[in-house]
Symmetry: C2
């Protein structure tokens, strides 16, 4: 008998949501699944026992791929992979640069990106826009957008991502605005609600999330999700093309 | 016999520099001094054994005060005190706001300030200006300053601190520029060299430091020192007055 295991790291779902989603995915009979919640992520360990080492490894690999394919939006890393390193490698490989406009994450994404030596090759900088004035004056978010939809809205996140690209000239821009808590919730906008936008060329994608946990968990979850969004864009075949085309 | 102990946290000096400086300070006979180096700080534990609990506590207290008075530039926290909480409490008490312009620290100072719930009451935001273009376009650092003195210089740090105050309207502005390493050193500018400026009203203070350690240690040391500089300003009696006077 041999045992092989791997850890999948998911963000944007609570542990109970992850458990629920995994019930829909077929697992090998001898697979043990265990869960650990850390701030901003749920770690899922898959361990399979089989007659041989290679059989166990194959079963783990197939299961991990099934889960990753089904929960592509949420699986942001595997085992010791560091998401900031993955994004840095993809930016370098494609010769692209990145900038960020952060509200509720308060600089966490930029801190992670600049933890790495040589980050000035792909990271140009960004803005932490805690106040509405900074969103308007430094990022060019229209006051009317803030008035109509609020600072925590899809429209504001989009304008932040577009604004930081415009201001910095970066190929990719992230815009993150949300309610990290414990205060700040309003009717219809609970603690944990975060809008994350990615701008590339003249295209912008945005998604709203409700991150579980305390302030630290909401912030780390939003930062993980933002970098995961950038990673998925950069991994897609047409990443450079969509930026180049839009720039013409 | 009773033992009492305390931990002083110092930044901006290596462990051997701290040991050297403490040799100049008189210690009780039964005082054991031990050192732990962590990224960005040296922790000094003083433990005194004496006939009674109160004698031990008194001897520790007197020694800690002597060290803190002698090394005021470097002692940034004691025991479980969190420097970001101290700065936040002082800003709140004085009704002042803060902003930051970070280069080599890449958002770490802003991340620490916004780790705390309710930080939008005293923190307005800031800029991570990794490129020269961001220093010029977003912070108004004169191109001529960058050309003449370089991005890592006292002049640039001062212009960054003044710039972020001007752009955000914050009462206090921090400007941090340096070489976190492992690359980036030039003749006369070694890895670890960081200039930290504090602007308040129309006054600006700036000091150059050489932080020991790896990239993470240099960045944490610079962030600790920047917040310590803000704390010392805010603790001084005339903090509000100097800002108000300057604004007239």
């Amino acid at each position: 008998m041999a045992i092989h295991s791997t850890i999948l790291k998911l963000t944007g779902l609570s542990e109970s949501q992850v458990r629920e989603r995994l019930q829909e995915i077929s697992m090998p009979i001898d697979c043990t699944v265990s869960y650990v919640t850390v701030p901003g992520a749920v770690h899922v360990q898959l361990a399979v026992s089989a007659g041989s080492k290679s059989d166990a490894a194959l079963a783990v690999e197939e299961t991990a791929e099934r889960i990753t394919a089904a929960l592509d939006d949420y699986v942001f890393a595997r085992d010791d992979e560091q998401l900031n390193e993955t994004v840095a490698a993809l930016l370098t490989k494609r010769g692209l640069t990145m900038a960020a406009a952060e509200s509720c994450t308060g600089g966490l994404i930029m801190k992670w990106l600049t933890d790495l030596p040589g980050s000035s090759r792909y990271f140009v900088g960004g803005v932490v826009s805690y106040s509405n004035e900074m969103k308007i004056n430094l990022l060019g978010v229209p006051a009317q957008v803030l008035d109509s939809y609020g600072a925590v809205s899809e429209q504001t996140a989009r304008a932040m991502a577009e604004g930081i690209c415009r201001v910095t000239g970066a190929s990719l821009g992230l815009g993150v605005t949300g309610i990290a808590g414990p205060d700040g919730a309003t009717p219809g906008k609970p603690v944990g609600l975060v809008f994350i936008a990615l701008a590339a060329g003249d295209r912008v994608w945005c998604k709203g999330h409700i991150f579980p946990g305390q302030r630290g968990g909401v912030r780390a979850g939003a930062a993980n999700t933002a970098l995961h969004m950038a990673r998925r864009f950069l991994s897609a075949a047409g990443a450079n093309k969509s930026i180049d085309t839009n720039r013409k």
